[in-house]
Amino acid sequence: MSTDIQTDNSVHNRTTGNKPAARSPFRETIFALLHDKLALTGLIIIAILLLAAVLAPMIAPQNPYDLTQLDIMDNRLPPGSRSMTGAVYLIGTDDQGRDLFSAILYGLRTSVIVGISSAAIALVIGASIGLISAYAGGRTDSFLMRIVDIQLSFPAILIALIFLAIFGQGIDKIILALVVTQWAYYARTIRGSALVERRRAYVDAARSMALPDRRIVFRHILPNCLPPLTVVATMRVAYAIMLEATLSFLGIGLPVTEPSLGLLISNGFEYLLSGDYWISFFPGLALLLLIIGINLIGDALRDILNPRREG
């Protein structure tokens, strides 16, 4: 049944009169993404960065947090310098004599982990609340949405600031802080589409079969709300990564033992005025590529998954 009810987002099915039901909506989307130049660029950037993050221990010339591998004599070397042992520091070293390229690879890992896990948790919580809100309706709905409204009227960074000021630093705390700042976006998005879906005939059909509410909500309505949720989730991952980097840069996010890109940029900040630009510049470039890559995919997804799009 899944292919029949999801024709909204499968462009080809609609134009060819629903004949070949072979492609799943998921594959349709991937197919469309690969045919969009900007989205493809985004996918390639993200694929390379993710690969680099996952394989960091293997491809990094040194483990930047193994103190035995660092040589303080090599500190703040410009890009392309040679180390005491003759290895080349591709993009220079930081104030501890760390190879910046290796540090960025490890930093990417942390940033990606924080971004994806916080978005995933926020998605599960937000989606559940949004679905319950839409399905229950009435007072439950207006109460839950009032909370969402109030929360969204405060900027994410302020909420994260309050949270971190109370609970302190740490990778678990920053993930929680990001979840707290993000769930409301998911809740609002999914409530919007669930309200529409709830009135569809297939929900009546499911009800008339006396299926339990929980099954109707999670097995029937939820899958049909996924397209807009996917778009929001993509954008939110990018935002979560950026927010984490910002908080870490401010020194209230991740502790120095969990070096994310934001922290690397922050480390180089004090040397910026003396002209040692590379310590801050290159980690920032990596962060920028990561965020642009995700946003390019998100932008394309929004066009692809929008049922109202032309043609």
């Binding site: 009227s153 900027p155 000021a165 840069f249």
Partner: protein, 325 residues
Amino acid sequence: MASYVLSRSLQTVLTLFVMSILVFTGLYLVGNPVDVLLSTTATPAERLEVIQALGLDKPVWEQYWLFLVKALSGDLGNSFVFNQPALTLILSRMPATLELAFVALAMALVIGVPLGVYAGIRPKGLISKSIMTFSILGFSLPTFWIGLVMILLFSVQLGWLPASGRGETTDLFGVPVSFLTWDGLSHLILPAINLALFKISLVIRLTRTGVIECMQLDFVRFARAKGLPETRIVLVHVLKNTLIPLITVVGLELGSLIAFAVVTETIFAWPGMGKLIIDAIGRLDRPVILAYLMITVVMFSLINLLVDILYSIADPRVRLEGKPQ
């Protein structure tokens, strides 16, 4: 109208009440202020004395009540670091932050609206496409990193503009401001652009979407049928209808600019409240953290309230929503 304002005000009071409970529970109960105040060698008797002095032996609701009464009379405690009332400290830093936020907001509107209108009128043109690409970039550039790049370029390499501080200030109605002197202005430019960049992209996108939607409406067709010049249609009829939704956004974005000023102030050593709170978190200066949080929450709630009321004046459908026709 009156009933709408009343119900929105009540909601604001309720929000403030809930936030004060959250912040209070967070700062007073989750963390233990006694551990921060006492040295590790304190005797149990000294410990008890501090607990009693802080009123921590009282029941929780009574502690909250005392906190609320004191907070309402403007007493949010003394800063551990500066040994001044936390409230005074925050208020003395507030003008700097507000100036930065307002200048950034003005920039976002002055630059964002015209570009957005242009991109909306000719969505397929090359210039429009470049504007939109710029806006994607503006969304993706991390504020703090672009701030660093700006310092690197304009202060370190070119030496055109100072990288930190507020410069010379003059008093305007008793409030120190930077934008009236050249020195102050030169200090203001970089941080203001840095803070505004994200918002410029946002305003461009919103204006563009609004204009595109508006251009397809019947009244535009009618205006064209009447033979009105295209410039008048766009600048008067379309723009007016596009600007209404912008009110909400601009109001909320002012709040978000004040919050995000934390980042810009840290980079450019701008002596505002944001810099103060980051320093306070670093030094565990609880009263200052508490005062900052309470003041920003109050400020935000008031801005939101004001925006909602303004919006209901501009668009009566909002306050009539849910009422019988």
